[in-house]
Symmetry: C2
Subunit: 880 residues, 2 copies
């Protein structure tokens, strides 16, 4: 059995689980010779034994007395010794920080005799009595469970009688009066006298701290923060250092660097003649740490040296508590300091430059989720705000603007430079122009892959979707949440990173790309094996992706091109065509538009691969809503507008014909290409024509044509033959050699299961893990995320949302199988992933481990992917 | 190289591919010593060489002359010899029968001289000239491509001049006149004289038969019947036997048994003094074969002996052509006779009883698709009918009745004993009572797994779904197809086995279960390894399944119980409940109803396992259609019916809340059980209460509780724990031991992929291959079958509809993986299949091969499954 009590100098930073964070820090600092008041730690194991037996375990107090004796020796004082009384602090300290959740007792060891001795020894009766008063108050509250207010009222009463307002102004006599009242209060309220035996005090305090592990607020905190109840807390017993021994004494907290910006140099505050609780209580305003230089220059310099030493030792920015007792510096705590995303990057890079950290460590320690914050507009963390509703965090970033319920109006006002938020029950292709012009999108229906979510993410525009508490009344131009009604034109702010909807306009802060970030990503590029590409549908997206470091476009969706306002009518014409000739005519009109689309993207990605996915969504997505058309039709009928009636009747008929029970599993992807090969032929022709122009102009386009939703090898064979036919025609027509590759998405289980046969034709695979997750689980993302997934995550039936973190056991198994079978057929098969998982760090690590060639993600996730891909290498290397 | 020409006696029945069916039959009959006119066969390989080179290949005619010389020797006659002229028939004969598609020439070898010689030899100038006349006519038409009508008109002209009406009445002189006219006609029309050299005739005829392989009607026939163009046809050259040599001669066709009923005894017809073409042409009415006994008793007896010999030799009923030349019997063809489903079974069983066939062979040779016809009402094959539309063959069987557009009316009239067909755009749970009362269902929307299809199949009721050419006008009570309008009350007939919709009432014939069928199935039971269970939701279904030989209920769906008219309101109450208490109240009311359901089924299946699947479909399926409610609400509002407005508003709100984009992938199955455990708890309680009552009454119920749609092992763990809790309560409550098993459907890919973990809890697996096919392919069956699957099947992108025949490469791989992983965890895991594939022979064979324990299918498919399971054993044994 490990010992239940360890002196500080017996432990180290490694012992965090047994000593708690605070104990491990004190041990480590003692070990490396920093000025730490002597003490010992009672381990978490003792706490667990206590929880188990509902009392201090046998032998524990014996060990405490043994260590106390050693402590007394080191301190040159003894507990209860009136001549040279030892006072100690008794502090909790769990392995995972739970700030303020558990209890602490300071100045333990005081009674009438030792207080008097302390007064004589320090030459300050007032200090001694103030310490005694504080001790009774804290012990009474924490150990004897008395209401804090009782002591406060007694204190206030004496202050009133003495005619003073500040604690500091109380005389020694007044303090003695307070002590007397406190002691009586304890006796009256608890029926027991305040313990005068310091050993009894210590035993009671230890018990109380152990007890506090299970106080209600600690339980709640652990539940919220997902901290196990089985960790327990350690108890640190440490000789008191007194910051309240006059103006050469003091106490403070500081970060070794600025936690907001990462700037080097101490960042913190202090109070002279004070104990730690005074800083926390906020009764006096602490002073910036720089001012300590003027007050106690030598101590300030020592503090600077200690900070440098701690950073070098821990190889990270530290968060420190210290006390100065008559110019003598004591460290009471050190821990890794929390910091902003920006500071995290800067500190890591600076530490590398200072030679403290390796590049690998600088990368490994970044939290990608935090780094992601650097890439979106954020709600100013300092802002006060009224959160009125919460939806799904569909597309990160924050945006504020006036509420608009109509896409046309959003476009009109957006083009005038006004900031608007488009609010809709859900969006359709008809709303695209409104989304383009708006600052952000808010919908009451639809999940993380609803139209609004996908389009907004593609544009890097904030979106909150599926906000089901929103009741939208389009007719009246209002939405209501509970009893709050928001009208068109009212200001709201949305936070697409958290799903918050906030009333009014809240300050937002812009994303920042800065030197240290670029430096860090450059190092990551040197380490990672996975390629990082981007999902981009426009030349602007492609350029942005390239700016963010993408090495190609791993997914260029062509359907968004079809949804442009100039295209949609022609696309609808194509869909409504009743003869092949009519359809051919509409396709002929689309051809030059598509050619320009591809020309722009291929040009922007000159020299890098661009994987163009042919049309994927079901055709009905391009038709207006059935209900809307029916209403419009009734209207036209009433007006006697025959031409309109005729057109709308056709639209309605076709919409009904294309209706699907489960569009996700319907007539889409390559199924369209098989039934309407002329659509794919048009797209392929446009690609090759764009390529031909670029080749002729001296560019170096890398064309990859991707067939979506293949599940049967024959589908891909047919489509590859069609591509080859068009290719031959266009090479002849242009007189240019037009290199290309043809491949497929692996996004239904059958494709993964028959990947060997598919790879006979496919030159590359791209795992479409969004759809693959839907079909492997049998979850419609739109429905799952609004219906049962929240319960599944809350109940831990699933460890993570599988649409966010790739499900290694199920979906991942298909990825492995598909990869292996594909590479067996075609060893040089290029294999990547282009679902949303391509931007998720845990999923990127999986992709690295199974041996994919690249990940492709939203341009805004590219930096995260570069970082995570490097972290994957480091984690695998460490583990291996 | 194999020889291009083979004498009959050189070949055998094995040589069908090279000799064609007819050639192989003639060879085999020759080989076993039956009276076959001598001849030889030119192989299909020669035909393919001809097709390739567009001319008779070198050396072919040399081989023909060699064989001709042998033939002349055997026949004692020579081609072109005026004294003893040899006449031959030249007949096509492909490896797969293509009746009437290719050409034949009879009486070849005649010219003026040989005709005269033949007349002298046979003593009948008339016979010789008639044969010559026939030859010119046939040769002119088949070989020289002259219009048949030209000869007919010349024949009629001479008949007119001679004043006779029948060919038989023509005198020899008249026939000579006809021959003269025919010869002139040939010269006039083709510019060439009719060939008089018999060798030239033979070469031309062989070429013409080869040519006929690619005539348009043969090509079309092959395309329709999926016969390869690469087979080619053989040509049989055979000495003519003359059935037209007077009244002791004749010709006929017969089956060795009755092909309709399977009754033993010859079944056929004959004509005296006729050639084969006379029987086919139908100018004279043939006489029943029995009458031959009186006409030519010895020949009749010889024929009977030959039939017996042939059946014994071929071990099957034969279809024979014969000719009698002056009392001498010649066989011209034998082949396996086509027969009805009923005859197929009876003949096989009779042949086993006769010792001709083994039981195994009797089973192996049944076509399960044909046998299936025995289990449903069929449209009378003899009926004339007007097919007005074609939908999906959603539930087999034929039904006729008056069109009814409303479920309530269907129920009202059905209960009065009227035959009605319920016609709806699609059906919902609200229509169940109408379906129960109707003879059949016809819908214009929905696929093979639409509500209508599933419910109808479950009830064994004919249904045609997704008949998209139907335009239904509910308001007017009509439906229209093209320009035909059918009103409510009009008679229609539907054929759920083919999807046909027929105007008017067509005769149907009832299914027949007869002794031989039971005998055959009994033999199958002795051979098969797979268990056969049934999908049954009611005691009646369960009893029917048992009558059909089911060994348990492999799938008892509980949702159909929820849809009963008395249940639905309570179910809706449960769904609309706003508090747990309200829900509990509704569930309390459902509990005794469910208990009765389970009591009935468990009792019917006493001693056999009943696998009860807990509630599976999304809750919105139990709510009325959103549009209907909205309309009703508007109505109630107008009437000022406040109570109704309130209720409907709640219904509408809940329906909208439960709305799903992809219900197939939505909030259903175990997901309901996780979120609303009280629903599953109620069902489980009802099961155990029913079990307790049965156990107390001395029955032996075998309860298996099946959790649907599990994809994550933790889902099953939770539900198994819930089952165990309720079980403990109910054992306590009843004081009975209540054995049970708990298991799961494997119906999403992830379940198969993580089957090892799931089997930690599951005691049995049932592969739900309907859903597994949907998710593995990413096909919504409802959408796929009406949108793109037809194109996929037509284009051969898929070899079969994967919803009908289990996809071994994809879905089957998951079945294998799931089975292996499950059995690795739990070696005694019971594993079956309960999708529709459980009743499909090819899929059953797959199930046998991978080692499943049982299949479960519709009660009406149970006999087919028993047969197919036995065939699987036989096929595997043969192969192995």
């Amino acid at each position: 059995m490990m010992p239940w009590v360890m002196a500080f100098e017996e432990g180290s930073a490694e012992d965090r689980a047994r000593l708690g964070g605070k104990g491990a820090g004190l041990a480590e600092m003692s070990r490396i010779g920093l000025p730490v008041p002597p003490g010992f730690t009672i381990t978490t194991e003792a706490c667990l034994a206590f929880q188990d037996q509902k009392r201090l375990p046998d032998g524990l107090m014996d060990a405490v007395w043994t260590h106390l004796a050693q402590l007394e020796k080191k301190a040159g004082r003894r507990l209860g010794d009136a001549a040279a009384p030892l006072l100690v602090s008794v502090r909790s300290g769990a392995p995972i920080s739970m700030p303020g959740m558990m209890d602490t007792v300071l100045n333990l060891g005081l009674n009438a005799e030792t207080a008097q001795g302390l007064g004589q020894e320090t030459g300050s009766r007032r200090f001694a009595l103030d310490s005694y008063r504080r001790f009774i108050q804290m012990f009474g509250n924490v150990v004897m469970h008395m209401d804090h207010g009782l002591f406060e009222r007694a204190l206030e009463a004496v202050k009133g009688e003495a005619g003073v307002t500040e604690d500091q102004e109380l005389s020694a006599d007044a303090l003695q009066q307070i002590i007397d009242r406190y002691l009586k209060l304890v006796l009256d309220r608890t029926g027991q006298p305040f313990p005068t035996d310091p050993r009894q005090q210590l035993e009671m305090a230890i018990e109380a701290v152990f007890d506090s592990w299970n106080n209600p607020r600690a339980q709640v905190y652990r539940r919220i923060n997902k901290i196990s109840d089985q960790l327990g807390t350690a108890v640190n017993v440490q000789a008191m250092a007194f910051g309240n021994l006059g103006d050469t004494s003091g106490t403070g907290v500081l970060f070794t660097r600025n936690p907001n910006t990462g700037q080097p140099g101490m960042y913190g505050e202090f109070l002279t003649n004070a104990q730690g609780e005074d800083v926390v209580a906020g009764l006096r305003t602490p002073r910036p740490i720089e001012e300590l230089k003027a007050v106690l220059p030598a101590t300030y310099q020592q503090l600077q040296e200690v900070c440098a030493l701690l950073e070098r030792h821990y190889r990270d920015m530290q968060d420190i508590e210290f006390t100065i007792e008559r110019e003598r510096l004591y460290l009471l705590q050190t821990r890794t300091g929390k910091r902003t995303a920006r500071a995290a990057v800067k500190i890591a890079v600076d530490l590398v430059k200072d030679g403290v950290l390796s590049k690998e460590d600088a990368i490994a320690r970044q939290d990608p989720a935090q780094v992601a914050q650097l890439l979106y507009r954020q709600i100013d963390p300092a802002a006060e705000l009224h959160e009125m509703a919460k939806g799904l965090p569909a597309s990160p970033g924050a945006a504020a603007g006036q509420v608009v319920f109509d896409a046309d109006e959003a476009e009109r006002r957006g083009q005038k430079g006004e900031a608007v938020i488009l609010v809709r029950p859900e969006t359709t292709p008809d709303d695209i122009h409104g989304i383009v012009a708006a600052q952000g999108v808010l919908t009451s229906r639809g999940g993380m892959t609803s139209h609004a979510a996908i389009v907004a993410r593609g544009m890097g525009k904030p979106a909150v979707t599926g906000c089901e508490t929103l009741r939208i009344n389009l007719a009246e131009g209002t939405f209501t949440v509970g009893d709050v009604t928001v009208k068109a034109g009212d200001l709201i702010t949305i936070d697409g990173g958290t799903g918050r909807v906030i009333q009014g306009e809240v300050e937002t802060v812009a994303p920042t790309l800065f030197d240290e970030f670029e430096t860090l990503l450059g190092w990551a590029d040197g380490i990672r094996r996975l390629g990082v590409e981007a999902n981009a549908d426009t030349p602007e997206d492609a350029q942005r992706a390239r700016d963010f470091g993408a090495e190609g476009v791993g997914l260029c969706r062509t359907e968004h091109m079809f949804m442009g306002q100039d295209r949609l009518p022609v696309v609808q014409e194509m869909i409504l065509a009743e003869t092949e000739r009519e359809r051919a005519r509409a396709l002929d009109r689309l051809l030059p538009m598509q050619e320009e689309d591809f020309f722009g993207i291929l040009k922007a990605m000159d020299g890098q691969p661009v994987t163009i996915r042919l049309l994927d969504p079901p055709l009905h997505e391009f038709l207006p809503d059935e209900g809307d058309v029916a209403a419009e039709l009734a209207d036209s009928r009433a007006k006697g507008d025959l031409r309109s009636v005729e057109r709308l009747t056709r639209v309605l008929g076709r919409a009904r014909q294309l209706f699907e029970f489960n569009p996700m599993l319907g007539f889409r992807g390559v199924r369209l290409g098989i039934v309407y090969p002329e659509i794919y032929a048009m797209q392929v022709r446009a690609i090759f024509r764009a390529e031909a122009r670029l080749v002729a102009a001296g560019f170096d386009p890398h064309v990859e044509i991707m067939i979506p939703l293949v599940g049967v090898a024959a589908e891909l064979e047919r489509m590859a033959a069609l591509v080859a036919d068009v290719h031959a025609e266009e090479e002849r027509r242009s007189g240019e050699a037009l290199p290309y590759q043809v491949g497929t998405m692996i996004e239904v289980p059958r494709a993964a299961l028959t990947a060997g046969a598919i790879a006979e034709t496919a030159q590359f695979f791209s795992f479409g893990t969004n759809d693959l997750t839907q079909t492997t689980f049998g979850y419609s993302r739109d429905d799952a995320e609004s219906k049962f997934l929240p319960a599944y995550l809350a109940d831990k039936i699933l460890p993570e949302n599988p649409f966010v973190v790739l499900d290694a056991d199920g979906v991942g198994q298909l990825v492995r199988m598909g990869l292996e079978a594909g590479r067996k057929t075609r060893p040089d098969l290029r294999v990547g992933i282009c679902g949303e998982h391509g931007g998720d760090p845990a999923s990127i690590r999986f992709c690295h481990e199974v041996g994919l060639d690249y990940v492709s993600c939203s341009p805004y996730r590219v930096p995260i992917a570069r970082l995570a891909a490097a972290q994957a290498v480091l984690a695998t290397a460490t583990r291996g």
